[in-house]
Each structure stands twice: as C-alpha cells, then as structure tokens.
Subunit: 481 residues, 2 copies
Amino acid sequence: MSKEIGITVSKKDDLSEWYTQVVTKSGLADYASVKGFMVLMPYGYSIWEKIKEFLDKRLKTMGHSNAYFPLLIPESFLRREAEHFSGFTPEVFWVTSAGNDKLAERLAVRPTSETVIYDSYAKWIRSWRDLPLLINVWNSVLRAEIKMTKPFMRTSEFLWQEGHTVHADKEDTDAEVMRILELYRQLIEEQLAIPALAGYKTDREKFVGALYTTTLESMMPDGKALQMGTSHNLGQNFSKAFEIKYLGKDEQTHYAWNASWGVSWRLIGAVVMLHGDDRGLVIPPRIAPVQVVIVPIPYKNAGGADIVSRCRSLAEKLQEAGINVFLDDRAHYTPGWKFNDWEQKGVPVRIEIGPRDISRQQITMVRRDTSERSVAPETDAINETKMLLDAIQSSLFEKASRSLRQAIHDARTYQELKQAIETEGGFVRGCWCGETACEDQIKDETGATIRVVPIQDEQVFSGCVCCGKAAKKAVYFARAY
Amino acid sequence: MSKEIGITVSKKDDLSEWYTQVVTKSGLADYASVKGFMVLMPYGYSIWEKIKEFLDKRLKTMGHSNAYFPLLIPESFLRREAEHFSGFTPEVFWVTSAGNDKLAERLAVRPTSETVIYDSYAKWIRSWRDLPLLINVWNSVLRAEIKMTKPFMRTSEFLWQEGHTVHADKEDTDAEVMRILELYRQLIEEQLAIPALAGYKTDREKFVGALYTTTLESMMPDGKALQMGTSHNLGQNFSKAFEIKYLGKDEQTHYAWNASWGVSWRLIGAVVMLHGDDRGLVIPPRIAPVQVVIVPIPYKNAGGADIVSRCRSLAEKLQEAGINVFLDDRAHYTPGWKFNDWEQKGVPVRIEIGPRDISRQQITMVRRDTSERSVAPETDAINETKMLLDAIQSSLFEKASRSLRQAIHDARTYQELKQAIETEGGFVRGCWCGETACEDQIKDETGATIRVVPIQDEQVFSGCVCCGKAAKKAVYFARAY
C-alpha cells in the first residue's frame, strides 16, 4: 500500500508490462505466492462490487434468486455428461484426502457447477409449476492455468457468477439465453463502456456439453479478442444425464431444458486494457467506486483550514446527490502527489479547490480521460459534476467504439485473412463454408478462431475464406486471449 | 420446490428431526449428494443476504474494505504457525493433483485464511502509514466433518466472513477485537433477536494460534450452547511467522499485531432453532426477506379481481415505505394452503383482505409468532404494519431472553455442576481455579466446557467447582454444538 510509483512503460510500447504495472500499482490486484493465483485487492474488489450490484439487481428484477452449492464435486458427477467431462478434466484440481484419510472417490474443486447443481434440481423439480427455475450463484471456480498468469485474464481461480436455469421447452430456454445476453450487453457496453460483438459460437468453440453458446466479444488494444460473457442453451443434455424431469400440463413426463451463463472478474481486466493510459487506470464513471476526488489546494499553508472545510461541505453535498466522492485531506501528502495517485487509480473527475476558487466561489474540475480542466460556479457543482460524469461515460464508449470499427477488416481470400491476422490483428470478417475442418486449418496456421457468428446473418461476400467452396455465413475471426 | 407439506414432529418431542424438517421443508437448505455438504437454497440465501447487508454496511462505515484471497493454500504456509497447523490439519481437504499432473506440494482447500492473507500483508505493509489495515473477506471455508451433517450447524463447507486486520500495537488490536465483538452483538441480539453471553475463551478453547479469543454464546432449546461469533487478538504470532513488519514513527522496525474475526451461516441455524415452532420457521422482522405477505381472500370467486387490485395497491404502498412485501396472488392455491405455506416459511406478518375488509376499509393482520389477529384502518396500513413488525422483533428477543435467564444455573460443587449439566443442560455458572486440568476433567466426565469467561469479572461465590481450591473467576460451563 506504501510506495505507489508511476507506470514506467508506455502502453503502446509494451502492453503486457504496462498492464501488469497498472493492475498492481493502482491497487487492483496482486500476484499471490501460490502459482497461478491472484489476490483481488480492496480497490479491485470495490469495482467487482459495482459490477455485482448492477447484475444482481437486474437479475432479481427478472425473477432470479441467488443460492449456494458445494465447492467439491464427485468425479462421478462430472463423468455423467461425457463431453463436459473430457472438456474440463485437464484443468481440474483434485481433492484426494481429508485430514489423514484418503477419499474413496476423488472430488473436483468446482471448475463450473452444472453437474452439482443439476443433481439438486433433479430432486427439486416435479411439475410444470416449478418451472422456470431461475437461480444464480456468486462464487469462484478453479481451472489450473499452466500458461503465464495474467491478473484478471488468466488465473487458476476466478470470481464470477454462474446462472443455471431450468425451462419447460426449447422456446423458453432460447428466450432466457437471449435475455441474459442482452443484460450482459447492457453491463459491458453501458456500464463498462466497452463495445462488443454479439453472436453465436461455432460447434468447435461452444461450451462443452451445450446445444449452442452465445457470446459477447470485445477487441483489446493488441488486436486480440476477449470473450466477455457467454450464455448457453444446454438443451436436454444435462437433464438427461441428471434425470431432471417434470410432469407437464399434459400429464406426461418430460425432460427439462437448461440454460447456463456467466461473466467473471475478467471484465475488470478488459476495463484496464481498453480505457487505461500511460498514467494508469481510467475507470468509467458508472462502475467507479470513487467517481470524484476532491483535493484541497492550500496556499502556503495559509487559509488551509478554511479550504478543507469548504471541500468537506462540497463532498457532503455531492455524496447526498448520489455521487461517490472522496475527500483527500491527508495532510502528509502534497496536492501534486495526490493528483498522480488518483490519476493512477483512474478516478473520473478531480475537483480542486484553492484560494482563487474560494474567492471566485467556483470549483475547478479535471477530467481523467482527457485531462481537460474547467471551472464551474460552486452553486452548480452537483449538476456540473453529473454532466461531466455522463460526458466521460459517453466519450469512453465512443472512443472504444471507433477503435472497434477500425479493428474490423474484411478478407475474401485465405491470403488476405492470414495477412490481416498476422499484421494488424483485430477482427477479420470472412465467409465460411460451415465445416470444422476449415476452422481447424485456420486455427493451426494463423492462431485465429471464429469468435462470433452474427445473430442476424450478414451478407456472404465471397466463397469460404479457407477452402473457397460456397460459404454459408459471414463470421468474425480473431486471435484471442 | 413442489409438495410443501407440514412439519410432522413437535419441536419439544424431537428437536433434531423437527430442525431438519423445518430447514428443508421451508426451503432454507437441502442436503447435497456430496457427503457432509449442504445446498443453501434461494430462501436461505436471501436470509444470508440480509445478514451480509447489515454487517457489510457497518464494517465499511468502520473503515473496513472487502478483498478476495486464493482458495488453495500451500501446506508450507499452514506449517509456519505450528499451533495453527496442528489445530487445522485433521480436517483439511487436500488437493494433490491438477489435471493429470501430481502437484509438487499439497495444497489445502482453505480451512481459514490467516496464512494466505498474511503472506500478502507482509508484502503490502511497509510503514506506520499503512496501519491499521482493515480487510474483510466473504467466502466459504472447508473443514471435513466426520460427524452427522446438520444443515447450517455442522457441514464440511460453510459460508462466512473472515476479517483480518493489522495494527501497530496491542492496544489498537484490543480495541478492534472489542469493536467487532460489539458489532456481532448488535447483529445477533438486535437483528436476529437472539440474546448472547459475551466473554473470553480459556486458553484451552481459544482459536489455534491466537493470543486470546472473545466469543458470543447463545443457548439452544436442547440445553446446548452455540458459539455465534468470535473475534481474536492474534498477538504477533502470525506476524512473526510471516514477517509482517513496519517502520514505526520512531524509525525502528516492529512486528505488527493481528486480529481476526468471523461469523458464519450457522447464525441462520440458530434463528431456526430458537424462534421456530411446530408450524415451522419464525423469522425476526429485521432479517426477513419477506416481512409481510398479503393474501387476497376472494369470496366464492365473486369480486376476486377487485380484491386482488386492492391487495396490489396496498403492496405497492408498503413496498414504497421500505417494507419487504410479497403479494401472493397465485390463482391455483387456496388461501388456506397459502397461510400454511407462509407460516412454514416464518413470514412475520400476514395481511388478509377479503370482502368484509374491503367494505369496512380495513386490513386484517396476523402475527406469525403469536397467531394474534388484529384489524387496522386501511389508511393506517403503513404505520400499523411497522409498529407490528417492531413489536414482533422485540417480543422475540424478550421471549428468548427469558429462556436464556431460565437456562442459567449456579453450581457450587462438582456434584451440582454434573447434575445440572446432565439433567437440565443450559449454562452452569461455576467458579474456577484457572487450571486446564480442571477443564479437562470436567470435559471428560460431563461433556461440558467453559464457554465464556465474562469480560467484567463476576463475583467468585465458591471454591473451584472441580478441585475445590481457591477460585479465580466465575465462568459459564455448558455442553455445546
């Protein structure tokens, strides 16, 4: 917590090192001593709380309830859905003993909770009256990461929410999948100010065990895509494996349908990467734990008390108006030190009050994103601050949207695809025949995968970008995190 | 979720079976298929959310922040504090492989987080300016339970919060320990309506690795004590093991001091046991997810729509006034079925509106705790409801306080102690010489331990209840969960 020093590399020159410095020096997260794990520090946790609050409230309004299910899952549960098992076992942490006793059956530390949750659902659901069952869980999941740890983006444990719903039929399940995808879009675009492409995953890329997967994908500054959130229709795969059946209005027994969906703390990593700059974090106002910091500027130690008391009454006024404000009246730091500290932490607006501001009954406001300074009459402080926060929120989203548009290129041939992926990165829009063989070849040779199959078909403008045969869809390729 | 049926045993006749039925039939929790684990169901989770909201808000006001630390802890970390290690290893779940790879070092699934947290603190803390460091964590911990599973009370995994704070000296640490104990008292007595004895644990009973432990203990209807929450001064034990040092104002390096403290979902179990009756749960209004349920009573299906719309406007009015209200307008259940259902779920107040209420512009209110019916003018609905909720909250606490007082007996001789423990149970107040040998003997021969050494010394009224020698303190013995 001591010794916060500035970021020593530029974002453009070394994104990876810049990212690590911003995350750790701003107090978002720290590497844990346990390999592959990270600590979510108080400042990072407070952003996660903002994300949670937004989602939790919306989910409850939509009829979902929270619950909690066991961390440890018997191996036999995971094995019941064969694809699911083979997809997850390579990264499962296994518990083999308790105290000094060897367990009769290995227990998986949850890599995701479908199996343990559906085991309970099978007991709870009897009739159509019990449907839909809409449950969400806030927990952490563990998947052993052998690659280099990257805070928020690649860690062996991450915080997330996993929604698990049960429906009577495909139609109702489809509707849930899309309602959630739209909720995630609102979170990502309207709260985090990050534009995303929405669409389906291909069979190759879908969630193991799902009928189909929908996704939101954003573009990072290094030209790699980041999967922001997914919402799956699991069909009746799990309900058949776990015997989730209900008595319908028709008095017949039916297998139920399942959806599952999740977003994780990875979203915080996306915010850092996309909005941050060489001075540190830039946090969109709607998810900023501190939206406004007030820094008193004493003049040669004269009139200091008066200035601080003016700052305090302003802080109270803004707080009452629903703005998250922090008054930095720490005596043992200079204003300049505080400016750097709060800029590194990405607080959207800084308000300075010095002798001149007092005499003119004004406040000086500085935007974190553009460094623009402006003054406003003290009597208009609430309105002006709110307008400024809104302006920052919009302008972050617009800037990111421009970057996204510039990062999308069309490719008509394999050569164009390869070159675009290898030189510029970003999303490459290409036409595709629908065969997994072409996906495999492209992945092997360029590292790119199909990130998104648009929900509304986009016009096919060439043959398959890989094999040249007739194309079925225009899709978006990219390398990804 | 289907088929809710009444409780089939009486609380007085078979507390254990009654408890299990109330917990599962009211939808608080369910047994998981994984032995020793339970599922916190939506209704139970919503009570946990009320407890969390109360504590979280208070803790933040007191200056604490939330954070998140890794689930898996290397064995070598646990070993650094020898007492701590020997205390916890018998119940630790051990991870020994990830995917197909055997791990070089076993990882413990967190039984408590002191070690992994203090490893980070050692990196973060440099100077007196960084102190106090006040962090709280909401997570789950795992401790293998070999005894019979009892939902909320004895499960291999439980949700809790663990606070971990760092201080410059003993004085500041003592103050934190007591501030938290007082916060817990407010939670337990003022929110959960459960009276508790506050005090110190003896060295035999304190947290492994602590300097001293403070506790709040309540009495359950079967005469066994339940530890509700603990707050520990860890001294410098962990800071020495983990090298948590700071540069003081005196320019010297000092080992820091630690406190840790926690309450778990066990509190929900206490609420069930203490306030519940033969019809099911009785939830204190301040932690009730639904404080008021409104049930329309249609008359022979005539005027039904009008009654429901009156109920709906009342529901909106109460909701706006900050009361958690649920309108049960389900068409396929009778009012009688709904009464039973909501009584089983322990909703504090039921409001009925039927044709007679409409014609008299009144509402009928029924208290869950006493079954008392009353009517109030519809125009006074908000005030009357609030007053009734307050009255229920107070009367639950008063009733429980009377029971607690009746469950405390004094013993002057070993024979009196033994008889009191074995016949009536409850707390037995006895005088104690201070020797662990006497504690051990009493535990071996009666099953009772010293639950509380009062914070304010109580008058010594006999020799040691075990050995007869001069007694140092009057303490409270009991068998415990």
